[in-house]
């Protein structure tokens, strides 16, 4: 695959210089692939958050329809209802390419209050 993009000259000059030091004159493609992989890793959480919001927004519009599906399992992905089934196994294969999915049993609201018996140390 070929990607053409205009970059800042100063960045490209430094990039080409350092790639040559590490991989030789033919190493640009390898370095760009590594850069793209790193970028994809870095932005993965951002992409999941974006799809999470899309799916939760979609759910609010689907509530009237889901009210009639008490006790059944639902999959929402790509901002759309993907399917409804009587077991988690029956719907687990839906939207396998989605980064984020809502998969839940209608009318099974878990307890919303939690006691966490410790102090929190976040990193």
């Amino acid at each position: 695959m070929t990607i053409a993009a205009k970059t800042k000259e100063v960045v490209e000059t430094k990039f080409r210089h350092e790639v040559e030091q590490l991989y030789g004159a033919e190493g640009v493609a390898e370095a760009l692939e590594r850069a793209m992989e790193l970028w994809l890793q870095e932005t993965h959480d951002e992409m999941v958050a974006r799809e999470r919001k899309l799916n939760n927004d979609a759910l609010s519009h689907l509530q009237p329809e889901l009210e009639r599906q008490q006790g059944r399992y639902v999959v929402i992905a790509h901002g759309k209802l993907q399917g409804i089934g009587d077991s988690i196994e029956s719907i687990q294969g839906l939207a396998p390419d989605a980064l984020h999915r809502l998969v839940f049993k209608v009318g099974e609201p878990p307890s919303r209050r939690r006691k966490l018996g410790w102090r929190v140390y976040r990193k």
Partner: protein
């Protein structure tokens, strides 16, 4: 996996420092952590079923089995901090009993704890044997059939 009604034997884990049992975690996509059973602490100070480190939640891609945000629990720590927990579903395997249980899995950003809480413990008769340095699940279990998943 066989149903828990077939379980007859009590099982124990040596647990000198922490009260812990040997489990694995499985997603509905079939991802399993860890490869072999690992001792996970029973924590009566946490009233959920299973709390995961946020990094593990991500590496198991549990965001593909997530409950809607309107169902996410809100936790309060002993020091009064309010934390919104992310909620998904998965399974806890007890390999030595050959059973799988469907559980609610929770995490929050930056969490590093991996704990089994009171809602999980309540599915079993549990012996915390301090002098014997072990934790035992007592069979036959009192778990409801609806909690099982194959």
């Amino acid at each position: 996996m066989e149903s828990v009604q077939e379980v007859r034997e009590s099982i124990c884990w040596n647990s000198e420092d922490l009260f812990a049992i040997g489990i694995q975690i499985r997603t509905f996509a079939g991802m399993i952590y860890p490869d072999n059973e690992e001792l996970i602490q029973l924590d009566t100070g946490y009233d959920g079923e299973l709390l995961l480190p946020s990094k593990l939640y991500r590496s198991l891609a549990l965001y593909q089995w997530e409950y809607p945000e309107e169902y996410w629990p809100v936790g309060k720590t002993v020091s009064g901090e309010i934390i919104e927990l992310i909620l998904a579903k998965g399974q806890v395997l007890i390999p030595r009993w050959n059973v799988a249980l469907e559980v609610f899995i929770e995490t929050f950003e930056g969490n590093e704890e991996l704990l089994l809480g009171r809602s999980f413990i309540r599915k079993f008769k549990v012996l915390l044997d301090g002098p014997g340095n072990q934790v035992c699940l007592i069979g036959p279990s009192v778990m409801g059939k609806e909690d099982l998943a194959s």
